[in-house]
Amino acid sequence: MRARPVACWLLAAVVAIAGCTVVDAGGDNGGDAGGTLATAAQARPRPLQQGSAFAPASLRALQADEFENPGMLWVARGAKLWQQAEGPDARSCASCHGDARSMRGAATRYPQVDRASGRLLNLDGRIMQCRSERQKAEPLAWESEPLLALGAYVAFQSQGLPLRPSIDGVARPFFERGRDRYQQRVGQMNLSCSQCHDSNWGRQLGPETISQGHGTGYPVYRLEWQGAGSLQRRLRSCLSGVRAEMFPYGAQEHLELELYLAWRAEGLALEAPGVRR
């Protein structure tokens, strides 16, 4: 119901961007001054700015108010789930991890490579792993309400701390694939992530101001969703906006993009739960 009109303006606005980036390559954002994709590939937007900095003032105020921020309802639910005993051994997250304050800083280091399996895990993936392999409880599905709640609760413990992902060693190939995908033009609009979030941040796209495309506020509460959603849900919106095929939840493509996004945002503070339009 709410999503339909949005899709229409996005289509129109995207055509405008696709047209203007050719003339405008490099824009005035300093990120890719040469206008070539090769230089943009290595660049972080400068100065780095939170997603909330591009949101309307009313939403910034909503996010900043620890009580009014609707994302805090997910944090509150996560706090309950953290204590809830599950599985054959009746263990809760707290049985192994104690107070959730022990998670302070954890969210700043994801996605990361799981030592045992060599797989790239984001924070949700780690929580799902703990839930099914360690707690031995019924697995949590991607984007399910309990997973969003636990993810919001764990991420909230790191609010205000700078992102510091590792892209070295075993993480390197994942990072490189994410970086390349970020530059790759996709969809009927034939646009890359970089064309919007490196070359055109600060510009208007329909009712939205294009941000630098950081994941620091996720999971966010989005008014359009009337609920909370993960970074992957947001990336699916971006892909659908350019009429590209959306990756399924949990797909490797998502995780690699997330690692690249974390590297791009290194040093920015986590601001989950964010509030977006």
Binding site: F67, P70, L73, W74, A76, Q226
Partner: protein
Amino acid sequence: MVVRVRIPDIVRRGQPFDVRIAIQHVMETGYRLDHSGRTIARNVIHTLVARYDGVEVYRAELGSGIAANPYLQFWITAPASGVLELSWVDDAGVAGSERVPVTVRD
């Protein structure tokens, strides 16, 4: 149903103070259709009542125009220490309530 309620740390006898409440709820409008074109039944929290030591001090009637996860703020006064009880019910008949002890100071 997750609920968060907040009152000020210090409540003074006879002085108005604000009560803030946020409830996690879909607030389904009744105007939307599902994938097969059927109307999704309305399910909103239609009534929320606040009682102070059993006496009704606030009542809200909500409808389809209220966004998901409603947030309400209202002002009341307390003559003495007591218990603020908030209760609400949605179209599906699911009810919730929350009790908040209030300590009044002079």
